[in-house]
């Protein structure tokens, strides 16, 4: 079955600390993985996708097929990174399968 697991509901760090939001997936085939972010009072939006191999707002994510993981990382967290983060997997027929989300809180 296709599934995305985000084990942490809440991750709290201090400004300047490294951040890693975990995402594991189960999928047979070659999936496309995404991270979406929702800042307070804003709409859900794409942060990055694995095929782009970009760094967006200092965040990176590497697809590890052996560990079936797509963890989101940032070396130095900023207060403006506080948001809800969702990992998503491309399913059949253009659908996305979302994880349950991780709320990141960055304290000053």
């Amino acid at each position: 079955a296709q599934r995305v697991t985000q084990p942490e509901k809440l991750l709290s760090v201090f400004k300047g600390a490294p951040v890693e939001l975990k995402c594991n997936y189960s999928y047979s085939g070659s999936p496309e993985l995404f991270w979406y972010v929702q800042y307070s009072r804003q709409r859900l939006q794409l942060l990055l996708r694995h095929i782009s191999r970009e760094s967006i707002k200092g965040f990176t994510a590497d697809l590890n097929k052996g560990e079936t993981s797509f963890h989101l990382k940032k070396p130095f967290a900023q207060e403006e990174d506080s948001a809800m983060y969702y990992c998503a997997l491309s399913g059949v027929a253009d659908k996305l399968i979302f994880g349950t989300g991780t709320r990141l809180q960055v304290f000053p």
């Binding site: 509901k9 709409r43 939006q45 027929a93 659908k95 989300g101």
Partner: protein, 113 residues
């Protein structure tokens, strides 16, 4: 910029009422989706549509129906609202086929009393 517009930001309805949530996108996208977003449960797909007059059930379609009479508009209908349908509802669109990036509306927070 892709624009996905949901007609209401907040709605308060009574149990048993018929509720319409409207969503319009302006980028000629083929695919449109309705999700509900609940704390701890993430986004759950209710219904989606690949084309006009076409609809497919998602993971939690019970108690909901949809309508897509025009390509740019996708409506979610609660035939008889119940308190357990109190939630945040998100509409999204994506180009298709093979277009996985979804663009979301601002959401409608529905309270059913």
């Amino acid at each position: 910029d892709v624009k996905v517009t949901q007609s209401s930001r907040y709605l308060v309805k009574r149990t048993g009422e018929k509720v319409f949530l409207e969503c319009v996108q302006d980028m000629d996208h083929e695919n449109m989706f309705w999700y509900r977003q609940d704390p701890g449960l993430g986004l759950r797909l209710i219904y989606f549509s690949y084309d006009v007059k076409m609809k497919e059930k998602g993971d939690i379609p019970e108690g909901y129906s949809v309508s897509r009479e025009k390509k740019e508009r996708f409506s979610l209908i609660l035939e008889s609202a119940s308190t357990n349908q109190t939630s945040m509802y998100l509409c999204a669109s994506s180009p298709g086929p093979g277009g996985y990036i979804q663009y979301f509306g601002a959401g409608t927070r529905l309270s059913v009393l």
